[in-house]
């Protein structure tokens, strides 16, 4: 099997993730879509690692995972805080700064 198929899959998943960020309103779902994008790039990294025959790509995606975990933890805490005061997890409602 052609290894680049993984890359195509990665691109597809990345695009879907980006699209999800753009068209979903629930902040948590948007977060998931960001995770999807990160995962897709991880897949690309792992595949690159295999193509180049060294493990740096895997280490990079390992770091991506850690950073993604950090991001989720803080992001979800923010969502909870916002939800506590506004009773809504929709990103469109959090637009006080406009105008």
């Amino acid at each position: 099997m052609d290894i680049s198929n993984y890359l195509y899959l990665s691109v597809i998943l990345f695009t879907i993730g980006a699209l999800g960020v753009l068209i979903r309103r629930n902040a948590i779902v948007i977060f998931m879509c960001i995770e999807l994008m990160l995962n897709a790039s991880n897949l690309a990294l792992v595949t690159f690692s295999r193509i180049n025959g060294n493990l740096d790509g895997q280490v990079a995606s390992f770091f991506t995972m850690v950073v993604a975990a950090c991001e989720v933890v803080v992001g979800l805490a923010i969502i909870v805080t916002i939800y506590r005061s506004r009773r809504s997890a929709s990103v469109d409602d959090a637009s006080l700064l406009k105008n």
Binding site: V21, L22, V91, S95
Partner: protein, 623 residues
Amino acid sequence: MVYLIALPLLSSAILLLLGRIADKWGHLLATLVSASAFGFGVQQFLQMHKQPGSNRAVTQKLFDWISVGTFKVDASLLLDQLSICFVLLITGVGTLIHIYSIAYMSHDKDRRRFFAFLNLFIAAMLLLVLGDSYLNLYVGWEGVGLASYLLIGFWNQNPVYAVAAKKAFVANRVGDLGLSLAIMISFAQFGTASFSGVAAGAPHASSAALTAIGAMLLLAAAGKSAQFPLQSWLGDAMAGPTPVSALIHAATMVTAGVYLITRSNFIFDASSTARMMVIAVGVITLLFGAIVGTAKDDIKKALAASTMSQIGYMILATGLGPVGYAFAILHLLTHGFFKAGMFLGAGSVMHGMDDEVNMRKYGGLAKVMPVTAITFGLGYLAILGVPPFAGFYSKDKIIETAFNSGGSKAIVIGGAALLGAGITAFYMTRVVVLTFAGARRWKSEAHPHESSFLMWAPMVVLAIGSVASGFLLSMGSALVNWLQPVVNASHVASGKELMKPMTVSVLALGVVVLGAGYAIIKYRAVAAEAPEKVSIFTRAARMDLGQDIVNDKVFVKPGFALTAGLVAVDYKVIDGAVRLVGWLINEISDVLRKIQNGYVRSYALMMLIGVFICVLILWMVTA
């Protein structure tokens, strides 16, 4: 050498920054500093005196001031034969006036501030005369301008005084513009602003540039020394306390113009046009000041007009070429003594007369203020040029030099100088007669009395100076020889003499006797009020020959019109453009604001579009 400047500056800073804490001892500190500066100056002078003529100039570099690429200006000081004269005059007279002021200002609650300003002035003036380049001089130049402004407006609670201070400041600015232009031209022309650099370059420079620099320097000198056409501020500057008038507006600061021209002798030596302008300014001012002086009833203003006139003599002398410089400086020094002495005397009179300045309200004060009368009288004799008093040696030399300057113009200049001497005799006699002689015209509630020791002691010292300085300085051409290396007066005796010194002295004395005699006759008995019905000449003189009116018509009104025009242009064209830009941005923003809708997802879409564009470019590039 740097301590000369640093000490007064430091003392001034201490007095200003410590505030009320220094109220008790501030004046003493200031006086002490001034006196020590004088002592230091004397020591320097003695040291210099020991050296042979060519080694006397000392330069001291302080620090690199400006260093941009190849363009370098050092902050450095130059103490030479010319500077030391000024240093001694400034610190000596300055110390005397400090002492005088202790008593004179003792009732003023702001005495500490006054002394702080005085010290600031001393520091700035010393910097002016010690700077070794035009740029350093400029710093001192501005410093004395500031000090003068602060001191004229010392009693700024009086709006008239504040306006007078502002007027002096503005008039000085015009002159300063000339100085800065001169510096710029010399930078452009010679690549340096140091005296030695410019002196070295001057012989090779084009006459147009030299004339331009000379004209600009003359403008600067006119501003600072109250010469025509920037003379109008000096009379109003009398608003300041009398010691200020004595120190700044008689003895030192106003002579800065003379110093500047003397210092720039290499410029004026090289440009006869510039020299001619100097002569013209000097002649006009000496007559102008003298005429104005005849009509003033305010004793200080009369003395101010006299100062203007005497400085006119000095400027005239500097315009007369190498030989004139020394006489200008000689007259400057003697004038410093007798004019300062007379101002202090006037202050003493005012002090005794409850700050009354109108001479018509004086009369017969010689009896109650003998010391003041005697010292003032000695100064009077000095300014008149009666032998053997100081003025005789200095003023007569100038008149003589004017007559001997060669050509047909010499007769005009000399005649004018002689006429000036006559008028001087007239108005000075008027002052003396009105103040000290005749019947008493003061009101009964005034109790004129002799001033305290602290006040009359300086007056006595200055009176001695006005008696002896002329003789001492010109004995064996002492000053001329002393200054010879600086002003380069090697060809003193060149050109044929039109008149012998003796002839000039006799002529001058005759003119003086005429003027004085007329004044005695005319003012032996006067009314306490100035007569209203007077000749048109008197009226013109009273109005300062319309100097303010001319200023107003020629400069101020067109200036206002120009400014108004510029404001209109600024508002319509420049602001209009700015407003147009603002309006455009506003309109564009209104459109763009719709993009900024507050929705995170829209922003994310923008980001993605950006990414898309980047990838698109990448795609096209790699195609």
